[in-house]
Amino acid sequence: MISEKISQQVKNLIQQEFKTGDVILSYQDSGTPGVMTPIFIHSKEDIGKILINSLCVNNLAVYLSSFFQSEYKDIKQKGRIIITAKPCDAKSVVQMISDEQIPNEKILLIVFECDGVTTSRLIKEKVNQEFSKIDIKDGKYIVTLQDKQSQSIQAEEVRVSKCKDGSLCDLPTYYDYYFVGTEKSSKIDQHSKVMTETPLLQERLSRTEFKKIVDTELEKCIRCYACRNICPACFCSEKCIIDKPKLAVPFLDKEVNLANNILFHMIRFNHVAPNCTECGECERVCPQEIKLSIFYHYFNRLVKKEFGFVSGKSDLERQKLLNYRLGEELV
């Protein structure tokens, strides 16, 4: 569990580091039980609102590119951006730096140790009903149900899928501060290879069987573009090919049907394949609960196997797909 101590230490550090003009990106309580929401802090008085705990599942890296892009002119940044991140989120930040989306010197990356986060959706599934309150105590989630009864859940029972093994938990190659000290829950098994070695559906099933799964999953898509907009690797913002309004015939019809939905997800994954750090945000935010992990796991392993590239783990090397030098060996 991310301890209160870390939360306090991070706050103290931010107090010291904060200068006028800086923006702090962190978490606060949203008011909905079990849901944390990101917070942008512009003034020193608001630093007290920061709350970091094991419900902080959002990947704050997604907000970084907006500071340096055209659409959101209202938040063009002069000072630094102080961002608090879990080690997995820090990989997205590093990847964005190496994609030249954000300048390195404008970021103060504060990483805190984490041993698994959870979402209110997972807790609801676990207790099989709605709840009205969550307290975090002694490595357990104390859930107050709607009938005022309470139930306690071990942290490791409700970890989100990316926390099943430690492949994203190692220290990023670039950071400014790193806080250690989780408490009272079993650590994530760093040696477990659940994520990297479980056979992919694409390999396990025959193509027609797999196609059926793809069809049933993507049929549900309502194209709200939550997956695209929450993705730190999808940094085209309003320039995205999918909603380019100036084209005479839009590249992707707005009509929602299976063929168009598949096309949308094909374009998205093809574009983010070399940048995806498997943060799992797209799957988490999908209101239709589409299992997008079957795709991003596939692409990540593919890029790793064929190009030897693990996004978010190398600071300087830009992806090979974007870069070619004469004489270099192909695929």
Binding site: Q202, T208, N270, L321
Partner: protein
């Protein structure tokens, strides 16, 4: 033309390859040719869109490695095509529906031969009931 056997051919500098074009038109009525300036300008999402909506197969025909008019255009494309083909596979489609051929512009026979194999392969898929 029905979707199951329509094939789109992206041809690098087609306007300069009249002889090849007439041969293709004569031999393969189901192939639609699209002129592009360099194989390096080929965007895989065009292939996705065609496969999803209109066509059963897409081929990119570019110059041999090292022959590129723009020096390295086709090398970029080769990597992109690789990823695009794997994308098709990742979404449960046959990756061979998208092909890239690299050929010497002076030799027409081997091109026609590979187009022949490709059309056969696509119509074979259709007869097996493998729809996109």
């Amino acid at each position: 033309m029905a979707k199951q056997d329509l094939i789109y051919l992206f041809l690098c500098r087609a306007d300069k390859r009249k002889k090849l074009l007439t041969e293709i038109e004569k031999k393969f009525p189901n192939i639609q040719t699209i002129n592009i300036h360099c194989a390096g300008r080929f965007n895989p999402i065009l292939a996705f869109k065609l496969l999803q909506q209109k066509a059963a197969g897409v081929i990119l025909l570019g110059c041999d490695t090292g022959d590129c008019h723009y020096r390295e255009g086709n090398l970029f494309s080769e990597r992109r095509i690789f990823l695009a083909r794997e994308t098709l596979h990742g979404f449960g489609m046959d990756r061979n529906r998208l092909q890239a051929l690299w050929y010497n512009p002076k030799q027409i026979a081997p091109v026609l031969e590979s187009l022949e194999t490709f059309t056969k392969y696509i119509s074979n898929l259709a007869s097996k009931g493998d729809s996109i």
